[in-house]
Symmetry: C2
Subunit: 216 residues, 2 copies
């Protein structure tokens, strides 16, 4: 019984890791679609969002089954509750990738990101990729140290967003207002994405951090 139980908890972790990898993949594609005004890639990201949503729901269902069957207490209970919150974060991250792709589709064949801002968006995409890779490792090892590192990536993302806003306000190109609104939104999506990644980290740190207190 205990063995099945731990196998089930490990299975949940494994599924979360795979989900995080899928989100990372789609976010990478969304960034590429933005930078290259690639409609085909954008539509793939849009279509694949439902796969992420479905798999998040499957993990939720699995977690609820473990709760019902094994009736865990203390740390294990908190772990599963944290898992339920992490799927919600991953689902939101998948949706943010989709929102980016939708902007590509809306403006196609015009590029949403003007040439002068490609570098800035490219950097935000890189931070997004890095922070998701770390979230995946933090999840796989339930490691609060990696989680703490992610705060720095999040700070970097915030700075990139500030820079982007400044450039949007001071840049000069055709359709300035529309570009500013669209690219402002893009900046906001990347920033929110990083926030959710950090929120995953916080949930990991929370479960791990509480262990000593609960075993007192």
């Amino acid at each position: 019984m205990r063995e099945t139980y731990h196998a089930e908890l490990d299975q949940l972790t494994e599924e979360l890791v795979r989900l995080a990898e899928l989100v990372e993949l789609e976010m990478g594609r969304a960034t590429a679609a933005l930078l290259d005004a690639d409609l085909v890639l954008a539509e793939r990201v849009i279509d694949n969002e439902s796969i992420i949503t479905d798999r998040c729901q499957q993990v939720d269902e699995a977690a609820v089954i473990v709760l019902a069957r094994q009736q865990p207490v203390a740390t294990d209970l908190r772990l599963i509750v944290a898992d339920l919150r992490i799927t919600a974060d991953l689902e939101r991250m998948g949706r943010l990738a989709r929102h980016l792709a939708e902007l590509v589709r809306q403006r196609h064949p015009t590029a949403v990101v003007p040439a002068a801002l490609r570098g800035a968006i490219d950097r935000m995409g890189q931070v997004a990729a890095r922070i998701t890779t770390k979230a995946t490792s933090a999840l796989a090892r339930r490691d609060p140290v990696i989680a703490a590192e992610m705060e720095r990536d999040d700070d970097e993302m915030d700075e990139l967003q500030q820079d982007l806003y400044w450039r949007l306000l001071h840049g000069d190109w055709p359709d300035g207002t529309e570009v500013a609104m669209d690219v402002g939104l893009i900046g906001r999506y990347y920033e929110r994405y990083a926030d959710h990644a950090v929120s995953i980290a916080a949930r990991i740190a929370y479960v791990v951090g509480r262990r000593p207190a609960e075993h007192r």
Copy 2:
């Protein structure tokens, strides 16, 4: 034992309802602060967000205690899991109210919303208030009918946001780009707020809707 159990479930519902009322109150204040460029009110909303966050965490803790002590199954288990997701929605809604208030503070003493757009934001604020009132009732009665109605309010919010965007792109005022970016963000916050309200409704409908299937 069963009596305590149902009292605890009722207690959870009651706390969610009070939380939803608190969110409604803060969102109303955020709208008022936006419309009147009221710094004092904005700062109150910003300060009060932590009260919402703390109370969401308290409800989560209480839900986890019920899970651990009562080990509910089937519908009751799903209900508590839904409650954990609803607190996450309410927390996000509180944060969106805070984001609105932060824009007021950032631009003060200049009004974020130019006079020509006050009517549009006023209407979005009204829909936000209405949809939160309905979410509160839907929660209190676990009523999927009210939940379904909320979809219409959400559609109305989406239309208001479309209108707002059109006006931002075609309006003409000083600091046009900055206004468009700020007010574009405001529109987005209201729209996201309504989405989270609808998501609460969906979670209520899900729990209620599954009851027959599970009792088959």
